[in-house]
């Protein structure tokens, strides 16, 4: 059971702003440390993914709405931004590029305003099913309505043709990165602020108990609708940023894969904490960029990670991290660390065994050598099969023992923390 919002004592204020300033500083400094074109592209994609995942968490984590069609707002934001950029160029309007994501946001918002009232009438399965339907509907319409969506080719644009701002043409990726970083900070602050408003808190109440909310004066339908509109707006901003980054918007932006990816990022990161989706977006984008070049079955690994998180850590990465907070405060964390260290080796062995098994199956026909931790394995060789079996069975058995030790050490540490009043 996690607490989304503790009312902080005033002394925490400094630390609170410190975290935000640290984040902003990191965004500024990052491209100076990792200045290669590849890193800049990765950072830009991560920035967009973070805005998108945070917007999704307004629905999932804060209001308890499971949407399978959130990419609709992202995609429409992207199309709105592309059309706006082309219109700015065509009519010579004095709107520089950094304002374009706002129009992306409006694109996402307008659709949310139009479709949201009907969609948010009910929560739960009904909402999930309608969101799935709307997602498919819009994605398929995008291929049919060519004048708006440009068919399969999509709508292209040229971000450098817009009026310059501060002398920046936004041609180089570095300038685009800073534009994305700027909107990331702005959106993150706005979305965080939203959680601390009366609407934000009532959204949490609707998530926990929509029935009871009606008996404290609120219409849960209105609360869900407003949350839906905010989520739509910020998803549109993310879509606008993507349109600027890629200089194109097409039907892939709107589709089920994109909707699935944002659900995936948000859930893996952890929905109960504001920073959860940030972690999730970073991890998933990195995995996506890294794994696709390593293995053809990267989606399989995504699936395994997702199932693992759902089964063993429903609070996501953020939930795992925050579990340790009471232990840190009670000073009992160090009693748990040794059992973690002991568990690392067999767990890694188990993971290697699983990877080796998957890759053997995947590459058996092709015969590509599997390169795992610097060792080459031939998929057709019995040595590889035996290694995989030994790693899975041996690693798995030992890993289970060490996990049990973690659980025991954890229980002892938690009991002490509870006695000292740091754990409810």
């Amino acid at each position: 059971m996690t607490l989304t919002s503790t009312s902080k004592p005033a002394g925490d204020g400094l630390r609170f702003y410190g975290v935000w300033l640290l984040g902003i500083a990191a965004l500024i400094v990052l491209p100076m440390i990792f200045s290669s074109g590849g890193s800049l592209t990765s950072f830009s994609l991560i920035g967009i993914a973070i805005v998108f995942a945070l917007s999704y968490n307004i629905l999932l984590g804060q209001t308890g709405l499971l949407s399978f069609g959130h990419a609709v707002h992202y995609g429409l934001g992207g199309f709105a931004a592309c059309h706006m950029m082309n219109a700015v160029v065509a009519h010579k309007w004095p709107i520089p590029l950094p304002f374009i994501p706002l129009f992306g946001g409006l694109g996402g918002l307008v659709f949310a305003i139009v479709i949201g009232w009907v969609m948010t009438k009910r929560a739960g399965t009904v909402f999930a099913m309608i969101s799935l339907g709307i997602g498919e509907l819009v994605a398929s319409s995008s291929l049919i309505l060519r004048s708006v969506f440009g068919g399969e080719a999509g709508i292209t644009t040229d971000r450098t043709a817009l009026p310059k701002m501060f002398g920046w043409s936004f041609g180089p990726q570095l300038q685009v990165y800073y534009l994305i970083a700027f909107w990331l900070v702005l959106s993150a602050i706005a979305m965080y602020a939203l959680t601390r408003t009366p609407l934000g808190r009532i959204s949490n109440a609707v998530r926990d108990n929509p029935e009871r909310v009606q008996f404290i004066g609120y219409d849960p339908h209105v609360v869900r609708y407003l949350a839906f509109c905010f989520a739509g707006f910020f998803a549109g901003v993310a879509g606008g940023l993507a349109a600027i980054n890629f200089e194109i918007a097409n039907s892939a932006y709107l589709g089920a894969i994109q909707s699935g990816l944002v659900l995936f990022s948000t859930f893996i990161g952890g929905t109960a904490y504001f920073f959860g989706p940030i972690l999730g977006a970073i991890l998933v984008t990195y995995l996506q960029l890294g794994l696709t070049s390593l293995t053809s079955v990267w989606q399989l690994y995504f699936g395994i990670i997702f199932i693992g998180i759902v089964m063993f850590s429903p609070g996501g990465i953020a939930g795992l991290l925050m579990m340790h907070r009471p232990l840190v405060r009670a000073g009992t964390l160090r009693t748990v660390i040794p059992s973690y260290l002991v568990a690392v080796v067999p767990t890694v062995a188990l993971a290697c065994g699983v990877i080796l098994t998957i890759e053997t199956v995947a590459r058996f026909a092709g015969g590509d050598v599997i390169n795992l931790l610097g060792i080459g394995f031939k998929p057709a060789s019995p040595t590889t099969w035996i290694s995989a079996a030994v790693l899975v069975v041996g690693g798995g058995l030992i890993a289970r023992l060490t996990w049990r030790r973690i659980a025991e050490a954890w229980d002892r540490a938690a009991t002490v923390a509870r006695d000292r009043g740091y754990l409810a």
Binding site: L3, S5, L194, P198, N204, F215, Y218, A272
Partner: protein, 256 residues
């Protein structure tokens, strides 16, 4: 406080209300009148329709026919939040709190509408002085200030029941309906809860469903006896104690 609200009409007036589920009449010809500032208890055997009566008045379910008035204004057919905004607040028999939110947040959410902040998304909820003061006052009242940062789902049962009462009275409603507030409590806890209810509903109209007869006869100004969805008697505790119909239908065989 209740005196300020249209002194003439009853706080709650139920007229000929019927509730059918399919062909089954759960509530039939229900008539009930609760005066301003009165403490009114509804008693009756299990399955008599006490909770259904609560649900009908608070808008949780709609009557098939008949009429419910709050301070003289017809409220039957309105939705629960509309009724709540008109000054009627209710608790639930099964604890019905916001489990993942802290005790403080639970009470504060219940204060927000009444203090006029509604769906505001441009105000910082932590810097609303009157909301903070009211929330703190209620937490002091229900003795849960020391548990303010604990998620409501982790409270003990008795604490959750107290929080339930806190959420119910937080809006400052003039008509408060409590559905078995002491159910499942030990004797000591019950005593504490009754004292709490007595103090917190001072000057308000109270409607309470309760099984514990000592609570009912100690707290109520008037009692209505509900049997098979129909009120067979309504009167002061003394009148109810003497009423032969009540003795036969309820107190006689089933009094514990």
């Amino acid at each position: 406080m209740s005196g300020a609200v249209s002194g003439q009409s009853a706080a709650i007036e139920v007229r000929a209300v019927e509730k059918r589920f399919g062909n089954v009449s759960i509530i039939r010809d229900l008539n009930l009148s609760v005066a301003q500032g009165e403490r009114h208890a509804i008693i009756g055997p299990n399955g008599a329709g006490k909770s259904t009566t609560f649900n009908l008045i608070s808008g949780h379910i709609k009557p098939t026919s008949g009429e419910v008035k709050l301070n003289g204004e017809v409220i039957s057919g309105l939705r629960p939040f509309e009724i709540n905004r008109r000054g009627l607040s209710r608790s639930f028999q099964v604890t019905n709190v916001f489990a993942r939110m802290s005790v403080w947040e639970n009470v504060r959410c219940a204060v927000l509408w009444a203090t006029g902040h509604r769906y505001a998304f441009w105000k910082n909820v932590d810097s609303l002085p009157e909301v903070r003061e009211r929330t703190a006052k209620i937490l002091d009242d229900i003795h849960l200030m020391h548990r303010r940062d604990v998620p409501a789902g982790l409270l003990t049962y008795a604490e959750q029941r107290e929080l339930e009462i806190g959420i119910t009275i937080a809006s400052g409603a003039t008509v408060v309906m409590l559905d078995e507030p002491t159910a499942g409590m030990s004797n000591a806890e019950t005593e504490r809860a009754v004292a709490l209810i007595r103090r917190l509903t001072e000057g308000k109209t109270l409607v309470i469903v309760e099984h514990d007869m000592s609570v009912v006869f100690g707290l109520a100004d008037r009692i209505s006896v509900l049997v098979y969805g129909h009120i067979i008697a309504s009167g002061t505790p003394e009148e109810i104690r003497r009423d032969p119909k009540v003795k036969e239908a309820y107190l006689g065989e089933e009094a514990h």
